[in-house]
Amino acid sequence: MDNPSGRYAALTKRLVDSVLAPSGHMASDARQAVLARAARLGGRPSSPLSQRERGTGGEDIPPALAGYVDKVALHAYTVTDEDLAALKRAGNSDDVLFEATVSAALGAALGRLERGLSALRGESSPPDPLSTLGPHPLTPSPFGRGGTRE
């Protein structure tokens, strides 16, 4: 368990490389920025940063898209039709939104994976980013399962 990505590091790397591949509808740098932002929100230990992540503080992500990325990373079940409709009206194609969503979801998942593996190694963790952002996911929603509104 020395590798921060754990037992499946090679497969994880292939997945990340595919999602950040040069070809695509959204610039590879922007996808990388989305992934890194979501990974931080997912609890990725802040260091060491890989070469890929340096200099990606979210500055490459348009503000409207950054809000969507945060939503996908932290509480994807609150995404609404209107969120996507607004992003489309702002000129984002379906393929750009597909790539942004996948990058955000993968980043959040990796952040959580790395945080979990780091905890198993007995390392100290940063504060849980979810703890300051409203009720715990297991809190019953007044709108029913998966229907929580912001």
Binding site: Y8, L11, T12, R14, L15, S18, V19, A21, G24, H75, A76, Y77, V79, D81, L84, S93, D94, D95, L97, F98, E99, V102, L106, P137, L138, S141, R145, G146, T148
Partner: protein, 81 residues
């Protein structure tokens, strides 16, 4: 599905597979499958390889235990498993 292209924009090989799934299962194809089949070289193929290794590959955890972890995680994410 909120993204039209992920709902209907599959290339021919994936379109045929989706049709086959629909005919054999006599049900609507789940959105997660449509997502994995959309531009599979970008996400679906490496994601399926990763999932296969993690959920079915050699592990100290049984397949049932791993499915339980996944279901519990999905519940925490308020996502139907």
């Amino acid at each position: 599905m909120r993204l039209r292209t992920v709902e209907h924009g599959h290339r021919l090989p994936q379109r045929l597979k989706l049709l086959l799934i629909r005919v054999v299962s006599m049900r609507r194809v789940p959105d997660v499958v449509k997502t994995l089949f959309y531009r599979p070289e970008f996400f679906g193929r490496p994601m399926c390889d990763w999932t296969q290794a993690v959920m079915r590959g050699p592990s100290p955890w049984s397949v049932g235990e791993r499915e339980l972890f996944a279901a519990f995680t999905s519940r925490l994410n308020q996502c139907v498993f």
